[in-house]
Subunit: 222 residues, 2 copies
């Protein structure tokens, strides 16, 4: 037996002050020539691992900075804290996403004149997407354990993404993930974004991800 | 380099009408002698698989009903739809959780007099927790790919849980998960909830989960 119930569609209202702050952030980042990658994904998808791999792979070619959001005070040191890359960790106090004022605060703590590419790691969720931070590319990181249909069950972040990373490719022999089925699911909500398959554990596929990042940064450096 | 920013703590205000509706739901479910399991977890943690396994394992011993929440209309039939168990699928229209009025609507569609245990599968997230649905036990399902520290990074659902399921135990040889470390992380936010390790894929550990459910239901059946 089965019954479907449809509930009224959510209406999102972004307060005007928040929109202005987002525009200010965007203008500041553009004026400084900084490319911004806004990375979201489920808990455990590999956001921090991808940041770590990206810093390892690109810090000799780009000047990087990072912002990491967390729901509460860090329980223990994270893997990025021992690196030389400027890092700001933002405790959102339980809010499931950064907002423009938190980003503004974080930007004040970073040496913006010395950054080409700013990597922002969001709180781990696919249900709450920040569109108004200002001036950034959205990247969603999914992973094999989340299943091929993840883009259909959580369509919003995938539909907004400029690139989609599929992580944990090293689990392919174990999990039997159907990659064409995942791609078809992505294409139902996003016609164009490249799908970058990789494994942060084995480093397989990281070159294509780095190339994509370098292409994002290139126009801002000229 | 590292900087910490702490942002003001979120204040949650549950509207009084919502509280009344939750109390009504709780009273109705109690009057009907129905136990309710409210299941949350990340995308891909195994919520639907656990529901499927639970229905397979317990439907000869308990009269079950199920509610599944999704963010948008189902893209394709799910695995529960072909079963005999009464099932209501609720499209939340983008909202990251069920609320009491959605639950009330769903309850109207279910044959409540014929249900001992109602299983509610939430939208997949660990950042947005519904406390006010009324009359239920909270279960969080985590899985090995989410890492040992997941309870510390997403403390709220773990702190509220009456039981914590650790799924995908079959990936232990591949992922090298440190189970005592996961348990220590849980205990920092939740002193008492049992941790039930299992694999929905291999069915390992499902007996302990079924025993826990039978213990939840038992007092209501007398």
């Amino acid at each position: 037996m089965e019954v479907f119930l449809a509930v009224a569609t959510r209406i999102e209202r972004i307060p005007p002050a928040e929109v202005r702050l987002a525009e200010d952030n965007a203008a500041l980042l553009q004026a400084m020539g900084i490319a911004v990658i806004h990375l979201c994904g489920s808990p455990g998808a590999g956001k921090t691992s991808l940041l770590l791999r990206t810093i390892e792979g690109l810090s000799s070619r780009l000047r990087l900075g990072a912002i990491q959001a967390s729901l509460s005070a860090a329980a223990e040191p994270g893997p990025l804290e021992s690196l030389d890359t400027p890092l700001v960790q933002v405790n959102t106090g339980g809010q499931p996403r950064l907002d423009s004022s938190m980003l503004r605060e974080a930007l004040r703590e970073l040496p913006l004149a010395d950054i080409d590419l700013l990597l922002i790691e969001e709180i781990g969720t696919l249900t709450s997407i920040e569109r108004s931070l200002g001036g950034n590319r959205h990247v969603v990181i999914a992973s094999l354990p989340e299943g091929e249909n993840c883009p259909l069950r959580y369509p919003e972040p995938f539909s907004l993404a400029d690139a989609i990373v599929l992580n944990k490719l090293d689990l392919l022999p174990v999990l039997g993930f159907d990659r064409p089925r995942f791609e078809r699911a992505v294409r139902r909500v996003n016609a164009e974004a490249p799908i970058l398959e990789l494994s942060c554990r084995t480093a397989q596929g990281l070159e294509a991800w780095e190339r994509w990042l370098l292409e994002v940064v290139a126009p801002l450096r000229n």
